[in-house]
Symmetry: C2
């Protein structure tokens, strides 16, 4: 297949590219290095040292694997870029990671919020118009987030829910209660993509992904130059990855509030497998399909305690220190999110375990001199007026 990977320089985009390339697919990447620039502006960086720009990264991959990945350094907001990438590469599948993924960034202020929504919504609109115009048969595999649903008091279904109401029934889009202005942008995308499938007959898989953890994939582990980025800062870091970095450098694990917030999680290896399963099993033309892409649910406190135990095994003394929750979210709530559709397609999850966390801690240790401690504590508050 011809696989176009938008956001191919990212934490997930890069290892996804290597996996598809290794399996013999033709892979083209697009990235504008926006995340690199935003981290640099904040005075921080990936924990892992990235081999260089996309040119250097794909050159290293070619040396290691003998396989070639092509790329475009450009911005999806620039229609000339998007159009010409689609026209020249003519993908069979488009894996769309090319968005700003940070909830705290979107809440930092007006400018950051507008940048996030504009970047994500207009970038995705350009992708949809390019597909409609150039490759209407292609399959859009779009990364959404479980955070689109929020924490309703009923079970979370995969994208749609059958509602019985006053003697009639319909299968309708699952109601969304996104938890940040970034999460809102993903809901907007879902609305637009669903529309493009219903009305234009495009086909799409919307992967409502949980929180991804891990640093190791088969391809990234082949050579040090192939390592993916790994963020632990307040803006782009996520719960488990950040806890592991905190454990290694002797920083207390910062549980936000009571820590009863429960979310779906998955191993980075499973992200790659899920995207591959979606690509291998495309929906029908006109079909908008939603998979909840995670393998296990944990509360934040459970994760912190797991990291504490794993740290102990390898001789780290790990403290847990609850801090004022900078977010506005339920800290104790019902949570039952379905996630059977990817299992039905053959996903065999890598479940979280103490051993796995120990391995993550060991890997992080190699780079611990690179940690910028200043970047860890949350400064952005969901309620600017307090």
């Amino acid at each position: 297949m011809r696989i176009l990977i938008l956001g191919g320089d990212g934490y997930l985009g890069w290892p996804t590219a290597l996996r598809f390339s290794r399996r013999g697919h033709e892979v083209h990447l697009v990235d504008n290095y926006l995340r690199r620039r935003l981290l640099a502006a904040d005075g921080t960086d990936s924990l892992t040292p990235i081999a260089g720009d996309l040119g250097a990264r794909v050159a290293a991959w070619e040396q290691v694997s003998g396989r070639r990945i092509t790329f475009t350094e450009g911005d999806l907001l620039d229609w000339d870029v998007t159009r010409s990438v689609f026209a020249s590469f003519r993908p069979d599948a488009v894996v769309h990671y090319g968005e700003l993924p940070s909830a705290p960034y979107s809440m930092r202020g007006r400018q950051e919020c507008v940048l996030t929504q504009h970047n994500n919504v207009v970038g995705t609109l350009n992708v949809l118009w390019a597909m409609e115009e150039i490759v209407p048969e292609a399959h859009l595999i779009k990364l959404g987030t479980m955070g689109e649903y929020g924490t309703p008091n009923i079970s979370i279904e995969e994208g749609f829910i059958e509602i019985a109401h006053e003697g009639r029934r319909d299968l309708l889009p699952y109601p969304k209660q996104p938890g940040s202005l970034y999460h809102c942008s993903k809901v907007h995308d879902s609305t637009n993509i669903h529309f493009a499938c219903r009305v234009w007959g495009l086909r799409a898989t919307d992967l409502n992904q949980g929180v991804v953890y891990g640093i190791s994939t088969d391809e990234c582990d082949l050579d040090e130059r192939l390592v993916t980025r790994f963020d632990y800062d307040e803006t782009f870091g996520t719960a488990l990855n950040r806890f592991c970095v905190q454990a290694v450098i002797g920083h207390p694990l910062t549980v936000y509030g009571r820590g009863g917030q429960t979310r779906g999680f998955l191993n980075i290896r499973d992200t790659l497998r899920c995207v591959e399963l979606a690509a291998e099993n495309p929906p029908e033309p006109g079909e908008y399909r939603v998979f909840n892409q995670f393998t296990e649910s944990f509360s934040v406190v459970e994760l912190a305690e797991l990291v504490q135990r794993a740290g102990k095994e390898i001789g780290l003394e790990v403290r847990i220190e609850p801090i004022d929750n900078p977010r506005v979210e339920e800290e104790e709530h019902y949570y039952n999110a379905k996630h059977t559709r990817l299992l039905d397609l053959g996903l065999e999850p890598h479940l979280l375990s103490e051993t796995l966390v120990e391995d993550m801690l060991e890997r992080i240790r190699r780079y611990q001199d690179r940690v910028i401690e200043d970047a860890i504590m949350p400064r952005t508050r969901w309620r600017p007026r307090g």
Copy 2:
């Protein structure tokens, strides 16, 4: 009250401003004349002759009423404009009509779609950030549309629906199935505004408005220079208004497809009253409230037949001519949309009648020399590939 009216130069914004002003409220308008420019670019214009720019319009109002309305010619996308309007006027209520309202325009091509979503979503984000920063107690009265809901097979509730699922219940946002990329932009707005209420504690009324018809309000009728704009072209015209213009100039009424499409409608006088009722009865801080703002439901064929009968009464021979539906929509469907919340607040609807249509036809006759017939037939198709 201090009432800020965004989109104060528009079909509804202008008469709303006059009504609030006449009742002694302090009124400030913002408009960037975007709709005027888009119509001019299409070689068409309002049926009614507008007195001039906002300066000329408010001068006429001051002569007629002795009351002063202030205004800003500027773009909500420009943060300096938005911020300074809020900082200097400090509104108690913000009536937000300041969006691109055209479904066909948003479907014309990529550029028009992106302009619509960018204009509407970022403009509204700027309004939300300005409220959060400057007037967090103010009441946002936002014009949404019944088209956000689409045509589900169950009754449409007002914004939220109680869902029972697997033995549990929750009151959740009503699922949306918007009918165009413009309607999608209104869904995005609703998601963002709901978030700002939940998380920032702002208060908002989201008015999911039906299709507005009519040309006459108490204040606009006081003087010819106070007339509001009236669009009948394929892009900015709406069903009943366009049918009336077609009837007057002897153009067949263009029913799209089978004409069983059913929608909610309301008289322009009721729009003004609904906005006033919302302003007089604000929600609590943190409350996001949705009213379905229409008074009656009709199918497109029913409207065409009504115009035909009314035309006959005043000596017009009116033909109905179904044309290929340029839109993608159900042409026969279940439709039962609730609309009791504004009635509960005291709305006394002006219902549609043959007499009312006759009056519209007579008024339109005064301007019939201004009709640009070329602008009427639909050219934009929802499916560009056919």
